[in-house]
């Protein structure tokens, strides 16, 4: 079934106020265009699960987030998004794990089991303040381990290099918590640099990280991970983005001009190219290196 649709439609149809939302892309190829669309649509009361997703600060700053499952977030005054949320009485609850802990809550979700044991977090003070980290006795050895509770996000969004029209999605480069996160999610939105013919996918099916029947929507969105880099496609401007959305004035001007002031991501990119020095986007071009093909057949 062809699932290709616009970003507007994918977000309005499959992301609902109150959802638990997984965002892929641990510092690599996050679904930035999709996040901007969620902000534009003001979908709120979200619970956020992600690891080091830069544009997640917009969701917090715009008061759309109730709770964040995280290993690492700027929660201090240096992040205006947090200050703005706090001033508006919309500061989320931060439920803190280690990074591995986040990958485990999602793995347990992917596996369909309610918890998973671990040796992380147990010697720390995190379990005291996070009721979803506890301890469990090994039924074989009798030893105590940590245990984290499974999470099944209502919707997971991933940005990938290529995907077919039905939703078979392929990503390469560092994978962060992408595989566990989208596979744990009940609904999945794939945004992709390029929709490719299904045969491109099928000539290298080991690279597929989620199969089509698990995917609700496919959105073709070139440069959809900018300001982050994406392997094989473009390098990034993470620190530039943090500067553009860090101090109050920068942040407010960014959301006014580049989120609410544009109708979609293509317009965002066009507007950003006007604001930034000439050659800003050209600068992200990479020196392409091709892999050797693999062989299949029978």
């Amino acid at each position: 079934m062809n699932k290709v649709m616009t970003m507007h439609k994918a977000i309005s149809r499959f992301v609902t106020a109150g959802d638990t939302l997984f965002l892929s892309g641990m510092q690599h190829g996050e679904p930035a265009a999709a996040v901007h669309e969620i902000v534009r649509q003001k979908i709120d009361r979200l619970t956020l699960v992600s690891v080091l997703v830069a544009t997640a600060n917009l969701l917090i700053g715009e008061g759309l987030v109730d709770r964040v499952l995280t290993g690492y977030t700027n929660q201090d005054e240096r992040s205006y998004a947090v200050v703005k949320a706090r001033d508006a009485g919309r500061l989320p609850v931060f439920e803190e794990y280690s990074h591995f802990g986040i990958s485990l809550v999602l793995l347990a979700g992917q596996m369909g089991i309610p918890f998973i044991p671990t040796r992380s977090e147990i010697g720390s003070d995190m379990p005291k303040y996070n009721k979803n980290i506890t301890s469990v006795k090994c039924p074989f050895t009798g030893e105590y381990l940590g245990a984290v509770r499974a999470v099944n996000p209502d919707v997971g969004i991933i940005h990938v290099q290529r995907c077919d029209a039905e939703g078979n999605a392929q990503k390469w480069g560092t994978m962060g918590v992408d595989v566990e996160g989208i596979n744990a999610s009940k609904k999945v939105i794939v945004t992709t640099e390029k929709i490719v013919d299904a045969d491109v996918i099928r000539r290298d099916p080991n690279r597929t990280i989620i199969p089509s029947f698990r995917v609700s929507a496919v959105v073709e969105q070139p440069f959809g991970a900018h300001p982050m880099h994406l392997a094989g496609c473009y390098s990034g401007d993470m620190w530039g983005y943090y500067f553009d959305t860090g101090p109050k004035e920068n942040y407010e001007s960014y959301v006014k001009e580049l989120v609410y002031g544009v109708k979609d991501w293509d317009e965002h990119l066009k507007r950003k190219a006007e604001i930034k020095p000439p050659g800003y986007f050209e600068n992200f071009r990479i020196n392409a290196v091709e892999s050797d093909p693999i062989i299949t057949g029978y």
Partner: protein, 271 residues
């Protein structure tokens, strides 16, 4: 301040930290590193005495070759020509299963028993200071055989007891406290490296092992910047200073673009 941090010096206190970190990496080590000084230590070791060490980065990178020093943990340059690209779960599981020999982490604070606080000062719900949280640091300290903590030293950052244990060191310092918590024997903090000194652990308690006298530190100064009456190792020495060759490799090969001058990232640039 007697510590050398002047760019005009042949090397700075941050350079000394990087070199001391590199010296902790053995030829066949599997090293977990994050952004900042640990990246420099790992690359310096790789380009000098440990060319075969494996470098692991939490986003899912496993590599045995050097790479262009990045401004962020995950960049296309750090990914490029890796031996293996995978995810956080896979590389952390390598750690949990005991395959990572040496881990490096930064720290907000470190206490007498090597516990690291990256979370908050004061009450958790009404902190007087907040850091960003564990990231992968808790995992590294929980799993690696030897964990090395690198931070700039001040009394405020070296309290007798941290308000929040983000990464368990020897917890309350009693014998077997890690194991009691469920952590595996043979893991835990091995060293703390600061701009002033290097510290090891004796019976679960931090002791001054060597003083960074090469950059002007003295034992007196070191003790001033510790929040408890710290013990000194019987075999206290000077920290091995950087050699000319090490500084040359650091400048010319590890960080030719001078991204991490003095241990701090230079302003914005393309990742």
């Amino acid at each position: 301040m007697i510590i050398r941090n002047d760019e005009n010096d042949k090397y700075t206190a941050a350079d000394q930290m990087v070199v001391a970190g590199a010296h902790q990496i053995r030829p066949d080590d599997v090293v977990y590193v994050g952004l900042g000084l640990p990246f420099l230590s790992a690359l310096l070791a790789k380009y000098t005495h440990a060319p075969e060490c494996t470098i692991i980065i939490e986003n899912g990178i496993v590599r045995t070759t050097g790479f262009e020093l990045p401004r962020a943990t995950d960049t296309l340059g750090v990914q490029f020509m890796s031996d293996q690209l995978t995810g956080l779960f896979y590389v952390s599981s390598l750690g949990q299963a005991g395959h990572i020999t040496t881990g490096f982490i930064g720290a907000g604070q470190v206490d007498r028993y090597g516990n690291v606080n990256d979370t908050c000062v004061g009450d958790y719900y009404r902190p007087s200071h907040r850091w960003a949280g564990s990231g992968g640091a808790n995992d590294v300290m929980s799993f690696c055989r030897r964990t090395i903590t690198m931070l700039r030293q001040s009394q405020r950052r070296f309290p007798g007891k941290v308000d929040f244990i983000t990464c368990p060191g020897y917890i309350d310092g009693t014998l077997g406290s890690r194991e009691k918590a469920g952590l595996l024997p043979g893991t835990g903090p091995a060293m703390v490296i600061t701009d002033l000194a290097c510290y090891t652990f004796e019976n679960g308690e931090m002791v001054v092992k060597s003083v960074n006298s090469s950059v002007g530190a003295t034992l007196e100064k070191v003790k001033e910047e510790v929040g408890w009456d710290i013990k000194v190792a019987a075999d206290l020495t000077d920290t091995t200073p950087p050699t000319d060759e090490e500084i040359r490799v650091l400048r010319e090969r590890v960080d030719p673009r001078r991204i991490w001058v003095g241990g701090k990232r230079t302003p914005i640039g393309k990742d």
